[in-house]
Symmetry: C2
Subunit: 620 residues, 2 copies
């Protein structure tokens, strides 16, 4: 097995596709990491905005979490219906374009692509951020660490969906297990202590209230908390990756993910309230994350704490992986409608849409480099795309039920309608709350992307119209082409080219460019060794054309002559025969002129439909 | 006139060559800058080694300068004879290889190439060094300034010999004028003051003697002073650049250059002695160059001082230019004997051997970057090549006279023999004196270069033997080739390719790679729109071959099939017809797969003499 095969995996046959499909156990790491890991930063983001309210602020985390869980529940039911209707994957793009028209589809496509790319950058930078706050000496290497993790994720993901799921099983379930244990133990202690348990390690004391709650602040808190919901649509988009029975498996996976996320969000909110845990200033000296405080308060700082914190770090970094699973499926769907380059349709050796992965990695790397790998700068751009996509997807489902009414349509319209309304309102809230901080960038990028996609499709359609053919092959005017053979001097290479020309046509022009640089007896040699023998054999004699080149240019006069010939014979095909020396070793290449290569390039650039190039290689 | 033409000059016709030739007035800047500018660093290098002797050391500068002037005079007469014998340019390479054999020629070639490249690096870095000592704030930009000057020299030189001579006229003659005035005025004052003139600005007082003169020190002083002689062979190498009467013009130029250099060296030595001017420590705080002290002492620090110093800076930097004039002529001469790539034979739009210039610039840039543009680090590598070349050239001339005795042969043998002996001894002295400091690098590079040149020639000779032909064209077995047309689907591009194939041959295989990715009805369409109509027209029907590709690779199975076909038909030529989409705008390229390009590359890499590639472009 070669090193390449070892790293990337052996190629998979198309027929092996079924075996690459996954069930819920692997489905949770593959499609759920994004959603689940957001439990580690969603509540934190909301509580950070509540810091100025002091202890009083904690009172608001439970209702806000409830609102978010409610929204999540609505989305859950809504997406179950999407999975039912789209067994091959019903991402927002598919749903919106099929039900709301092409423009809505493009809007969803642009929003989702931006959000998937942002998710990679945010996930990796958040993971590295957590690592750096544990080991401050790594600080100067933030960007390098981000790019390293991006590279590792790329290598793991190019092995295919199943291998990726297996690789992420342990950290994911460790993370889930840790959080569940903390919530369970903390919950039981809270009940036993009538709502006021004693922390094992006391969290930092919250500062005094510095301001009062305003509706605007509440909106911003809600908008920040909503980042916890990104990644929820991953399962419905990736239905096609599940094994038979596809839809039940996908729905089971979605149920587990949403249930776990709801438990996490609810549990964290309740325990924060019970243990009086609030956010600390992330820029301040004594910063400690909510989950770190929580685990310490409930279970102390034993080995469990470190295992738990480790799994959180890992899962945050790996949450980027959801994008790796979904982005290529999304770009494939868009490319199928000709809105993106067709390379996104090509499945690589491991049955993945490899170019989607390359594009995702490329753009994420650009983002990480542009924002120096710092999460805080990336966050405001994030979540808008997700909510725009949610809204369009739910609205599309409403339209679907309206068009194809079936049993329990009203019920279904209601569920998707509430989903669309809730996410639509949330979108507006998030957009207003974050606009100045960076959401405007996303708002600009979406129309730009849409413009590009429309341009791509227009190009494909023009090409398709141009090359499309609905009739039998034309068979008139099949006379042999006029062949032009550039001749430098009489050599075996020239002989090979001329012989090939003689096999193909009876009208051959040998063109010699005379740069006056050296004495050349080509004309005599030609007469003696070429024209003479050919005439004797009764074949059509090739014509030798000598073109003077006072400025010593070789290619320009040759191409000019060929173009002139082409306009002289408007009904003939012209084939230019280019003999080319192929060297055995790379270092020999500079010893020979690269005129053959340049001539081919020039002919393609300046040529037209009636000029073909025949390449005769001569292997040394 | 385009910007490119404005910068580089309009192309020159071969017939305009005569007009590009120069006389002595332009010849001095073009071929003399290297030799003349060394008056600015040769004496300085010698005097720097005499610093430890204090005032007493000054006594030795006159005899050492006399020795150098004597050597110069010997070389002068010696090179006059070379110019007589070689009217098209008698560089050391030509003289040594014609008279002493190929190995001696290669030795001279390698030595000269290295020295010309070093001369560029040393000249530029010395000029920038002088500039930096005048404006210390430029220090951090030393390397950038060096590369900038290299770039400017390149642009000026790509305009051609005549334009270059004109561009350098003013600084060169300003430099010559300044030095002559200083030597004349200083000389008159010295005579009037009976050998002890009063300086206008007193030079720094020389330190007390710290050591005694040893023979070894004297040798090192002489070796350092000899750097003043590099560049002397430029004229005899570039005879071909002079206008009619060629040889007298070249000899006149050589006479002027050598006479001026001798006056400079002698005058500087005498005046240093008279005014008690010694070198100051270049690394010390109060550093001032010899010429700066000299001009100040003789004429004070008025406008004349600044004009003079400015012209010295400029001429030092421009002395690199001699290499630009001579290196391409040298590489051309070597390439003519197949020891260097033939591109060095190509004359560019301005009648220059452009690739020689590119190579010179490339290697000088590497040297400047590797040594950070610092002169002191480069100097020890320098001058060895020049003296090796001098010696070989004089020895070659001795051999020439021995073989072709003529009138005054004995006299001529004597002159060249003394030259060879003197430069040979100097070479050994310089080599010993500088070996540890860096001359060993040159000593290693010379055999490496010789090895490379021999390898290049061996390759050319093998190719030449292989492609050489001394018989008439073979006309047997001129049957039409077997044509392979890769077919994706039935489109107008496929039609064009097939029609072309039908024009060329009656044996066509259309090969379709089935990746099982999509439903494809190619076989029915083929039967209906291609095979059917062609059969009806009574033509030979192309065969459709469908190859399954379970791993979705497209090109590998195609190339495999073609190679298999090739071994099935050992006496047939196989032509692979590659239809290729040509986009109108660069940004459209990523929208189409680049399989045509890759297929051509793979076929050339894995193919053989019997496989040709026919490229059918389809312009959108």
């Amino acid at each position: 097995m070669s090193l390449f095969d070892f790293l990337v995996g052996k190629p998979l046959a198309t027929s092996e596709e079924r075996a690459e499909h996954i069930g819920p156990i692997a489905g949770i790491p593959v499609f759920g990491l994004d959603a689940l890991s957001s439990a580690a930063y969603g509540p934190e983001a909301a509580l950070t905005l509540l810091i100025p309210l002091g202890l009083a602020g904690l009172a608001y985390i439970i209702p806000i979490s409830l609102a978010i869980i409610l929204l999540l529940t609505i989305l859950y039911f809504s997406y179950r219906q999407t999975i039912d209707v789209y067994p091959h994957g019903g991402g927002s793009y598919t749903v919106a374009s099929e039900n709301l028209g092409a423009t809505a589809g493009l809007l969803a496509a642009a929003a989702l692509m931006i959000d998937y790319i942002l998710n990679v950058a945010v996930g990796i930078s958040a993971g590295v951020g957590a690592l750096v706050s544990a080991f401050p000496s790594l600080q100067p290497h933030t960007l390098a660490l981000c790019l390293l993790i991006l590279f590792l994720l790329t290598v793991i993901n190019t092995r295919g969906v199943r291998d990726t799921g297996n690789a992420f099983l342990i950290p994911t379930y460790l993370f889930i297990g840790t959080l569940l244990v903390v919530i369970l133990v903390g919950g039981v202690r809270t009940v036993l202590a009538h709502g006021h348990p004693t922390p094992i390690i006391a969290p930092p004391i919250l500062p005094k209230a510095a301001m009062m709650l305003t509706p605007w602040l509440l909106l911003k808190v809600f908008a920040s908390g909503c980042t916890a919901m990104t990644g929820v649509e991953a399962v419905s988009n990736g239905v096609g990756a599940f094994r038979e029975p596809t839809q039940p498996n996908a729905k089971r996976t979605l149920t587990i993910i949403i249930a776990l996320l709801a438990i996490f969000l609810g549990g964290i909110a309740v325990l924060c309230r019970a243990y009086n845990i609030g956010a600390t200033d992330p820029a301040g000296a004594g910063y400690q994350s909510i989950l770190s405080q929580l685990i310490g308060a409930v279970l102390g700082r034993g080995w469990f704490y470190y295992v738990g914190m480790g799994s959180i770090l890992l899962v945050l970094a790996l949450s980027a992986n959801t994008s790796f699973a979904d982005f290529p499926r999304l770009t494939r769907a868009i490319a199928q409608s000709n809105y993106l380059p067709h390379v996104f349709l090509v499945r690589g050796r491991r049955l993945l849409y490899s170019y989607g992965i390359y594009a995702l990695v490329g753009f994420s790397a650009i983002l990480l480099i542009a924002f120096s790998g710092i999460t805080d700068r990336l966050i405001p751009l994030f979540a808008i795309g997700a909510f725009l996509a949610f809204t369009l997807s739910q609205a599309g489902m409403v339209m679907h039920w309206l068009r194809k009414p079936g049993p329990r349509s009203i019920h279904r319209i209601l569920i998707n309608g509430i989903g669309a309304l809730a996410t639509g309102v949330t979108l507006i809230v998030v957009l207003i709350a974050k606009f100045v901080d960076g959401a405007w960038i996303t708002t600009l990028l979406v129309p730009l992307l849409i413009f590009l996609m429309i341009a791509v499709r227009r190009h494909y359609e023009a090409v398709s119209r141009e090359i499309q053919i609905n009739r039998p092959i034309l068979l008139e005017n099949l006379n042999r082409p006029l062949i032009v053979v550039p001749v430098d001097r009489w050599s075996r290479i020239t002989e090979k080219g001329l012989r090939f020309a003689l096999k193909l046509s009876d009208e051959i022009e040998a063109v010699h460019i005379d740069t006056e640089e050296e004495h050349n007896d080509l004309e005599q040699v030609w007469q003696r060794d070429v024209a003479g023998p050919i005439a004797e054999a009764g074949l059509a004699v090739p014509k030798l054309v000598c073109l003077p080149s006072p400025y010593r240019f070789v290619l320009a006069p040759l191409v000019d002559y060929i173009l002139q010939l082409e306009s002289q014979f408007p009904d003939r095909q012209i084939a230019v025969l280019v003999p080319q020396l192929i060297v055995k070793r790379w270092w020999q290449a500079p010893l020979h002129n690269q005129r053959a290569q340049l001539l081919k390039l020039l002919l393609i650039m300046r040529g037209n439909q009636r000029i073909s190039i025949i390449n005769i290689p001569w292997y040394l």
